[in-house]
């Protein structure tokens, strides 16, 4: 508490303990509005990833006849799980980033009519997406168990592997929500960039399959490291490289801090443009 008083208020954006209740209610509302009035309700949260997985497996295995280059497991399910470990993480990233520019735009009354901690909005979208990432974790563990392999203890490290990405995605939320409120073009550019990122990220292939000349550049892809690490802890039973993780986490926190600072400045102008 003492420490918080000494820090500039925008630093507290990273640690919104005062608004946990608010975030929880918003996340619950999003969950309900997504699945309410559908026949299967929340079951869709499980059905959708399974169907996506089936489609990707079919296309890449049966149509393109792809094999996982490192060839660890060559069953359909094994391939599917490797793809899914990367895809789930990409979808988490894409969902948050895609929504970010509209977070403030969509809620003008929260800007103009009430005094509202707008900085929680990216946290809400992150937490909503995090629920789906959690479901992906469950599906992965079930899939591994089903495919007959042993489920290594290292799967428990997955949340820790994802933690920096959570911070990064929320930070990008502040940045993009702040910019998107002024520049409505951001949304268009982003959906293009995201579909490009999907094929540049090591989702359908391991990072090591990239040409060596490209690898140093590809490492700057914010998804490269977490996807590779997720595969390591979930499927290969390897503990993460903690030094690499620490550097990555540091970079993510730095991005989030800069973005929080930007958002704190930009929000003063929100009421005037909405």
């Amino acid at each position: 508490m003492m420490l918080r008083a000494l820090l500039p208020p925008w630093m507290a954006y990273l640690w919104p303990t005062a608004h946990v209740d608010l975030i929880r209610q918003f996340v619950a509302r999003e969950w309900h509005s997504r699945y309410r009035q559908s026949l299967l309700g929340s079951a869709w949260a499980f059905i959708t990833p399974l169907l996506t997985l089936a489609v990707y497996t079919f296309v890449f295995r049966q149509v393109f006849k792809l094999r996982w280059p490192e060839g660890a497991q060559d069953s359909n399910l094994g391939f599917a799980l490797r793809v899914y470990a990367g895809l789930a993480l990409f979808q988490f990233f894409a969902e948050c980033v895609n929504r970010a520019p509209n977070l403030v735009l969509e809620q003008p009354h929260l800007v103009k009519k009430v005094v509202f901690p707008l900085e929680v909005l990216p946290w809400v979208s992150t937490c909503s997406a995090l629920v789906h990432l959690g479901i992906a974790w469950i599906l992965l563990v079930l899939g591994l168990w089903w495919s007959g392999g042993t489920v290594a203890w290292t799967v428990l490290a997955a949340p820790l592997v994802w933690l920096p990405l959570v911070v990064l995605v929320t930070g990008l939320g502040w940045l993009l929500a702040g910019m998107g409120t002024f520049w409505r073009d951001i949304g268009q550019v982003l959906s293009l960039a995201l579909s490009l990122l999907m094929f540049l990220s090591p989702i359908f292939f391991p990072f090591s399959a990239l040409p060596v000349a490209i690898q140093p550049w590809a490492q700057w892809n914010p998804l490269a490291l977490p996807i590779t690490m997720t595969r390591a802890v979930m499927i290969d039973g390897l503990w993460p490289d903690w030094t690499a993780w620490a550097w990555y986490a540091l970079a993510c926190v730095a991005v989030a801090l800069v973005s929080a600072r930007f958002f704190a400045g930009a929000r003063k102008g929100f009421a005037d443009v909405l």
Partner: protein, 410 residues
């Protein structure tokens, strides 16, 4: 208690100013924010919405805020609520502020009333336990019965407004900021919300009330502030300020031409808590209708007013105003003031006749506006603006608007 008087005030503003920066393009705003401070030529032109506002409002005061559109009323309210940041000056607001700026703006139509109560309360800054405690009274005030478990999109607009108002006022604010929220909703809701505001007034809450209805400001407020072009034009007792303001808007303006509008026939089927005017008809001798000719000082004018009201409501009042073509009110009559109460039958139908003998207005065209009022005269159920046109001719050359009773003596 502190000794300094200003630490006891609910709202203190000193030299408050709000400048809007007008940008030709949205991206200029971002450029200005990022590197504008290092440029000599800013990217914007400026507009001062408020300037040099110094006010002090003591706890428990009820203050009316009046002024034309664009005078800066909304900006001032938003500053006090904290949704806008002042450009210059100091603003101290002590206590919890509840803003009735736009009721139900955050409601999600797909969610039930209960869910929306919790959500809206959280947005307004209430903790969950606090909502749990007050839930019963919130639902009771909204008076929507089992609908509280239905999605809000199934509500009538009246139910929606009641629920939103109930949540907004349930947070037990120290300061209530009202921006014409009461001019919406049906008659029953308007009544009820007005009652709650009166209750809060009695509890000693500070209320800042913004309205175009001088009548309401005078009835509710002890003091009034008149804003004009972003500056404080006048402050003082509500009666003085509203009178001065009224006089200013009444000042003849070229180009205003009032048109008489006949009252549209309304099916006499009042809903719960609603009252409507059914017809207004003028009678002068054998003439009848909505457009009549009179001879000043000779004709007797009778206004036949028919209305219908939810029979469960207290007996209403009637107000009649006569205005000239410059929208200046020449004279008015309010049934409560005159000690008259119109009666109604079991279906809620009622009528009244207002008679002016030897109509004293001098030559010119005048318009009659009829208002069906709540029993306390504070809120209108229905209004028929300019429903009757009076064309007055006169015999002599007397100038002016009205012939006052007079006599000459030697």
């Amino acid at each position: 208690m502190s000794s300094s008087p200003d630490s006891e005030a609910a709202i203190v503003a000193s030299d408050l100013g709000k400048r809007y920066e007008l940008f030709a393009q949205p991206q200029d705003r971002l450029k200005q924010m990022l590197w504008g401070r290092w440029r000599r030529q800013p990217y914007f032109t400026t507009h001062w919405a408020l300037q040099d506002i110094s006010i002090r409002i003591a706890p428990g005061e009820v203050v009316g805020l009046i002024g034309r559109n664009g005078a800066g009323k909304s900006s001032l309210l938003q500053l006090i609520c904290g949704t806008l940041a002042p450009t210059t000056g100091q603003l101290q607001v002590q206590g919890r502020v509840a803003a009735l700026l736009e009721l139900g703006a955050g409601f999600n139509p797909d969610f039930t009333g209960l869910e929306n109560i919790y959500m809206n309360a959280a947005i307004l800054g209430m903790r969950r336990e606090e909502v749990d405690q007050k839930l019963e009274s919130i639902v009771a005030f909204a008076d929507i019965g089992d609908f509280v478990r239905q999605p809000v999109k199934t509500y009538s607009s009246g139910m929606f407004m009641r629920l939103a108002f109930s949540v907004a006022t349930s947070m037990e604010p120290d300061i209530l900021v009202i921006d014409e929220a009461l001019s919406v909703g049906d008659g029953a809701f308007a009544r009820k919300s007005f009652e709650r505001i009166m209750q809060m007034k009695e509890q000693g809450k500070t209320i800042l009330f913004c309205s175009h209805s001088m009548y309401q400001v005078e009835a509710l407020c002890s003091r009034a502030l008149w804003l004009e072009k972003g500056r404080l034009r006048m402050q003082g007792s509500a009666a003085d300020v509203t009178a001065a303001y009224q006089a200013e808007i009444d000042a003849p303006q070229a180009g205003t031409k009032a048109t008489a509008a006949a009252l549209a026939p309304v099916a006499p089927a009042p809903g719960a808590g609603v009252g409507r005017l059914v017809s207004v008809r003028a009678q002068v001798g054998a003439q009848q209708g909505t457009d009549v000719s009179l001879r000043s000082g000779h004709s007797d004018l009778e206004l036949h007013i028919a209305f219908v009201i939810d029979p469960l409501l207290p007996l209403p009042g009637l107000g009649v105003g006569i205005s000239d073509s410059h929208e200046r009110t020449i004279s008015s009559a309010i049934s409560q003031e005159d000690g008259f109460t119109p009666s109604i039958d079991a279906q809620g139908r009622g009528s009244a006749v207002l008679r002016f003998s030897g109509f004293p207005l001098l030559k010119g065209s005048y318009f009659v506006t009829v208002i069906l009022l709540t029993e306390d005269g504070l809120h209108p159920y229905d209004m028929a603006k300019h429903c009757i046109t009076l064309r007055v001719t006169q015999d002599g050359l007397t100038q002016g608007v009205v012939a006052l009773p007079h006599q000459w003596n030697a």
